[in-house]
Symmetry: C2
DNA sequence: AATTTCTTGTGAAGCATTTCACATGAAAAA
DNA sequence: TTTTTCATGTGAAATGCTTCACAAGAAATT
């Protein structure tokens, strides 16, 4: 029996991203030895308004104490629950090129509960090689191994030319969440979540900002 | 004498990101041999509304022909100008760890006009080593070499613990744009543009989406 | 040449997000 | 115990962004 609370309102992407930011800052506050934190202080650290912080949290419940603020450990746990990172997610990396193999050792993933447990590639020279203790599997066994290992998320770091084929394979294996690094618009069924990580876009934003003397409200 | 047109309205971050997407899709359309494209077709490919596409462009001028659409090559050039990628930007990577060295061979940067011309690290074992034809410099020479080479953007891929020191150095060297990969809130002077690339955040979004059966309007 | 078809560019409307402002209640101080 | 201080939680207002809907203009068709 599930005690899952359905989210009443439609939560915006921005709110979710800010929750991620709060979570990270709360970890830091915890390390720094703070027991409580106010929306004002949290806002200061994230360059937001206190009202924004309180509103974001209010979509999910009331976690604070008037006159005092939020309990750091408790709020961190609550946000972890909301984000679904109060557990470990098994992740596979498909495409062990430069970016793919770099991500295998990306500490921040582990820290937030994403455990890379499997690597796939189609290159015979890479298959069987070891990256941080994980042996690269043949992409041919993708469906079988993903199911066996109960992998729920995929990081896709293959060339754009083959990305769609890989997505189709991954979807066939039952995966519902894909983080795509290829600069291409991929098609997925409606029940599969797809996010695109496009690092070049961020440099383009910087380029635009310099050229236009841009002053946005929320340079994230 | 500059013929630069100041941007009248405040342009939203979303609009800039969509311009980047249009630019990429226009390159593809060009390769596919299309001479013109309508807002409808562009919208279909990006999963947006045609009105959104037209509105985005309208902030910067009118580039289309009624009844016909946009000239692919011309529009691509215009957006390139707007984004400031109608030229080559010299970029340096600071921190040649896993991510840093992976980014040196990231083709998409080159494709969009970002040329990595210098690498910096503080590790004696890395200094002098060669990555795709670029020799890693000692971080001690950062200010001098950045000025000499006319580097305008920095990709920062150092551990979070030293990121702020590196930013301070980079700012001192006169750099006005930084793309930061360290999961930490950095401080920069108001005239320096800072973007944070946080790959873990995207996985957290996926985690949230799965847990909450989230159906947002614009899964970007 | 006139008509039809198509698609842009853009005010206005509709929606979404952020900020304001204050009632509420808890803790600290007197 | 009473008063003061502080900070949350939240409707309402303000702001921002997206979509609608249509006039206008260009090309294609008759």
């Amino acid at each position: 029996m599930s005690s899952e609370q359905p989210v009443k309102k439609r939560i915006s992407e921005s709110t979710i991203h800010r929750l991620s930011m709060y979570f990270r800052t709360l970890s830091l506050l915890q390390k720094e030895g703070y027991e409580t934190v106010s929306s004002k202080e949290l806002a200061r650290r994230e360059k937001l308004t206190p009202a924004q912080v309180r509103k974001d949290l209010s979509f999910f419940g009331s976690f604070g104490t008037r006159g005092l603020g939020y309990d750091v450990i408790e709020l961190k746990a609550k946000i972890g629950e909301i984000l679904g990172i109060d557990r470990v997610w098994k992740v596979a990396v498909v495409g062990i090129g430069n970016i793919g193999s770099a991500l295998v050792s990306y500490k921040e993933f582990t820290r937030q509960g994403f455990k890379i447990v499997k690597l796939f590639d189609n290159d015979q020279r890479k298959i069987g090689s070891n990256h941080k203790g994980i042996v690269v599997s043949d992409i041919k066994n993708l469906e079988k191994e993903i199911k066996e290992d109960g992998i729920e998320m995929i990081i896709l770091t293959v060339p754009a030319t083959v990305a769609q084929y890989m997505v189709d394979d991954v979807v066939r294996a039952g995966v519902k969440a894909i983080l795509n690094f290829a600069p291409i618009n991929l098609k997925v069924p409606p029940d599969v979540y797809l996010r695109n990580e496009n690092m070049s876009m961020e440099l383009e934003y910087l380029s635009f900002a310099i050229r236009n003397n841009h002053t946005p409200k929320n340079m994230k």
